[in-house]
Symmetry: C2
Subunit: 231 residues, 2 copies
């Protein structure tokens, strides 16, 4: 691989309540080539606890982060609600997003990108349960696993990060590199059930999950409305 | 769900050089029920840097860890070589493994379990490139994505952790809970390429990856031989 070249800088935003697998799926794929320099970007270097209780140390802060080739914004639980209106975070994303080769997201991370104005006039996707909220930003929402629209690449829910990472690897390098990463990770998925989408899971299970997740969806909806009316 | 019951204690061993997605795939799935208490277990509480450069904070140490319902051992890069002969780690695994409801692994984590004697007389699997080394421990190696043999559940390479997590969730709870976790994570994988196994990737790509990974496989082989002859 291109060892003589400058590294590719790849950075993932992290914040309290981030969904860790939104980060880690794509991170694992993109760390495969020896010349990617990977970063977890925090507002400060203080430890950050994910939505599931995993505590991560940022490798760099908003202030110290070099210009990124790839910016990736993961989704979160309740912690994301605050992030969508955090001026310092939105300004950081705007600054990086203006120059990055690819501005990307996993799960509800696209709602943060949209809140920063980075999806205006773009097609994008997000977790199946939050597509209405993404549409509130005026984004052209597409119900696909990975959506590529020029320099914006967005993924569906949580596990789509792996598919998004492989898609990005092909764009940044080539198909052979992406396939080699897939082989290294033995990404030959064999889900024991067919329940990864509302269509597959069926109406009853989907309704049950939406009921359990209602406080989160409502909190997102309220925040998205506030952002929309404050513009 | 069973909110009146004691939590299920689920712990992942972490160590310098651990492959982070070996942990995070299964972790994300198993953190879904509200009554699982999740732990990242370190030898000390000092930060641990993964094979890819992610820095994690252990939530608990070998000494403080409660008796686990599920013990999960992830694989690693060069850092794993030392772990396979680390007496303190092997004793911790033996102590927990003797009482856990399920003793599990992802990727080359099964080689650590085998080094601790926890796979004697069991069928198990691991990452496709290390099955010969697993067999050196006398393990009955099975080339499947998730292998269940009584209370031992082992997964193939890196991304198998998600499939293993869902399999475990069904055993610990029921099929509906596992399917709901799958829906929440939108685990409806759509790999952009078909290269997740040597068979799919083809001989050329597989040979290239094995060549690049030779120093790692050789280091594992040497260590496994030392362990085998020291018994």
């Amino acid at each position: 691989m291109m060892l003589d070249m400058a590294p590719l800088y790849i950075g993932f935003l992290i914040y309290p309540g981030v969904v860790q697998l939104d980060v880690m799926g794509a991170y694992q794929v993109l760390a495969f080539p020896p010349d990617t320099e990977m970063h977890l970007i925090g507002k400060t270097v203080d430890p950050i606890t994910s939505n599931e209780g995993v505590t991560l140390l940022p490798s760099i802060t908003y202030t110290d982060c070099p210009p990124l080739d790839v910016l990736c914004v993961p989704g979160g639980g309740m912690g994301q609600v605050e992030v969508m209106r955090d001026i310092e975070t939105l300004k950081f994303l705007q600054r990086q997003g203006a120059k990055a080769r690819y501005v990307t997201s996993v799960c509800t991370g696209s709602l943060i990108l949209a809140a920063a104005g980075l999806l205006d006039e773009y097609q994008a996707t997000c977790h199946w349960a939050f597509r209405e909220q993404l549409a509130c930003f005026g984004v052209d929402v597409v119900s696909e696993r990975v959506v590529i629209d020029r320099d914006r690449i967005t993924g569906a829910g949580v596990t789509s990060g792996i598919d998004l990472g492989l898609t990005l690897l092909q764009l940044l390098y080539d198909k052979a590199t992406a396939k080699m990463a897939q082989l290294m990770m033995e990404y030959n998925p064999q889900p024991p059930f067919q329940a990864g989408s509302p269509e597959q899971a069926g109406e009853t299970l989907t309704a049950q999950l939406l009921e359990a997740g209602k406080p989160l969806v409502d909190a997102f909806q309220l925040q998205v409305q506030k952002i929309a009316t404050s513009v």
